[in-house]
């Protein structure tokens, strides 16, 4: 470890230094506040940056400029959007259930924020190291479904109710693959604590890291986890709950002004949280990708990985068209669930097979052969024809 500890641990040291000025009986509360406040500041900031990056990236994918008017290269756009949504009139439908309508965005944002409690964003930088941290993450994540339902139902509009029903059905269906894809890591580390999971991946062999993504089951688990995470955070191509063309904006159609912005914030925070969990589980958390890069502080690596995953999310959003509802459900139950269960089996086989090339071959074969069989089976009863274009190409 060539990292100068003062730079790597600068936030931890600062926190302890600040705590020294707090009287002893207040120290637990002060410590909690000092841990929570940076998270509550950094991730909304990341949300602001992501919105502008997403719009610019989508623009470039579609061969146009993104927003480029407000500030240098359009980077003040989120500030303009924020001011706009803050100053807009807050319209509540007359027939809406006023209390539930008001509570829904708050519940969503709170649920999205408190999952960050178990995400280690750097060495010794985690709000609380729960013994059952992963369970906590998934349990709190399930509260998002409820807030989505609250928003859709209380608006008293058929579009929002349809969107909410779609969203909850989709989230329940994809939560199972999400959890099952994470189970392989729990099997490998024998712990539900996120800190222990990251610590298990910090080693290096010949300069290469011990990330779980570099194993057959870890790679498959990562891909499956990311697919399920895309569906969980209602992002394209799984953005049926807010399909603009059929149900306008889904469950938050009746929201305006700041509440709408809160929904947006909550959605992006959920995306960051699941991405952060994917990093923690499969990409080594805050660990550097090569042993000679360990001098760069750990939190930098976490956010670098997070930005890469956000970039992939944007890339996927710019590429894939929206699925149909039956395709979505069929994909969850006919493909994701069997593959994740198979992946659990492969992880167990990996654990019991002797180390060496045979283990790699067996596990890869166990994953790839069923995958090919699956894709052939799923393709057989479809009459796919080559689409011809009259004008494009």
């Amino acid at each position: 470890m060539t990292t100068p500890d003062t730079i790597d641990q600068i936030f931890v040291i600062t926190k302890h230094w600040l705590l020294g000025y707090v009287p002893a009986p207040l120290q637990p509360i002060a410590s909690a506040i000092l841990s929570v406040l940076p998270v509550m500041g950094v991730f909304p900031l990341l949300f602001a940056i992501t919105t502008v990056l997403e719009r610019k990236g989508l623009g470039r994918i579609q061969n146009r400029y993104g927003p480029n008017r407000v500030g240098p290269a359009g980077f003040w756009q989120p500030a303009a959007d924020g001011i706009k949504s803050l100053t807009k009139e807050d319209v509540v439908p007359r027939n809406a259930d006023q209390i539930v309508h008001f509570l829904a965005p708050i519940v969503l944002v709170i649920a999205s924020f408190i999952v960050y409690a178990v995400l280690p964003i750097g060495r010794n930088m985690v709000i609380t190291d729960l013994n059952s941290g992963l369970l906590y993450f998934f349990a709190v994540g399930s509260m998002v479904e409820l807030s989505v339902f609250m928003a859709g139902w209380s608006s008293h509009s058929k579009y929002s109710l349809l969107g909410a029903m779609r969203a909850t059905a989709q989230m329940i269906s994809y939560e199972i693959p999400l959890v099952l894809a994470a189970v392989v890591v729990i099997m490998a580390t024998g712990s539900l604590s996120t800190v222990t999971i990251v610590n298990a991946q910090t080693g290096y062999t010949m300069g290469f890291p011990h990330w779980f993504v570099f194993t057959p089951w870890g790679f498959a688990g990562f891909i499956l986890f990311m697919i399920a995470a895309t569906a969980e955070s209602n992002r394209s191509p799984f953005d049926l709950p807010e399909g603009e063309s059929e149900i306008i904006a889904g469950y938050y159609i009746e929201y305006s002004g700041f509440k709408f912005a809160l929904f947006f914030l909550g959605e992006y925070l959920g995306m960051f949280a699941t991405s952060g969990l994917a990093i923690t589980l499969f990409l080594g958390g805050w660990a550097a990708p090569f042993s000679f890069l360990t001098w760069i502080p750990s939190y930098f690596w976490f956010f670098a990985k997070l930005l890469v995953i956000i970039g992939v999310f944007i890339w996927v959003r710019g590429t894939l068209p929206r699925l149909r509802q039956d395709q979505l459900m069929g994909f969850a139950w006919k493909f994701m669930l069997p593959m994740t269960l198979l992946n659990v089996f492969v992880a167990a086989a990996w654990h019991f097979l002797p180390t060496g090339i045979i283990r790699w071959a067996v596990c890869t074969a166990l994953l790839v052969i069923p995958f090919i069989v699956f894709s052939m089976g799923l393709k057989q009863n479809k009459k796919l024809q080559v689409r011809t274009y009259r004008f494009a190409e």
Binding site: Y136, G190, S191
Partner: protein, 166 residues
């Protein structure tokens, strides 16, 4: 007993009582989730972390959502002309009050000697070990039961083909 316990107890009782008293079925379920959150927090307060999070995950993430789906499918959230309580609600409440009175009498007149042990540290590993060794058979049976319930629920809720010719 700390003040936190009483706050959580009040939250739980408020949520569950509202769940049983409100007229709108969806409001009932939402109040019920509040009660479940309070109960989960009580479990955490009592040192059962794993159980608390499982409580949130199963009851809020699955049971409440399932109930909400059932309410939506049976259209029972609309404005009801008929009362929300059954004709025998007085009898039912009376029975509940009597049951509570008997239980409270029994509890307060029993000399319980709680062990003044420190908060037990229960880790996930311990729970896993116990589940896999001591309670392996119940676990298997529970798995079987859940599978049977899954299949059974689908079969029960599936529309009969010859009955519904559309």
């Amino acid at each position: 007993m700390s003040i936190v316990f009483f706050i959580l107890a009040a939250l739980t009782i408020t949520g569950t009582a509202a769940a049983m008293a409100l007229r709108n079925a969806v409001h009932c379920i939402l109040a019920l989730t509040l009660g479940f959150v309070g109960l989960a927090a009580l479990y955490l307060q009592l040192g059962a972390q794993f159980v608390g999070f499982t409580q949130i995950m199963v009851y809020i993430g699955a049971v409440a959502i399932l109930a909400v789906f059932a309410i939506m499918m049976t259209r029972s959230a609309g404005p009801h002309p008929q009362p929300a309580f059954s004709r025998t609600w007085r009898t039912g409440t009376l029975i509940a009050v009597i049951v509570f009175a008997v239980l409270a009498y029994a509890i307060s007149h029993t000399t319980l000697a709680p062990a003044t042990l420190p908060q037990p540290e229960v880790t996930v590993n311990q729970i896993g070990d116990t589940l896999m060794h001591q309670y392996a058979l119940p676990l298997e049976i529970l798995g079987l039961l859940l599978t049977a319930a899954l299949i059974g629920a689908v079969i029960v809720a599936m529309p009969a083909k010859q009955e519904a010719p559309q």
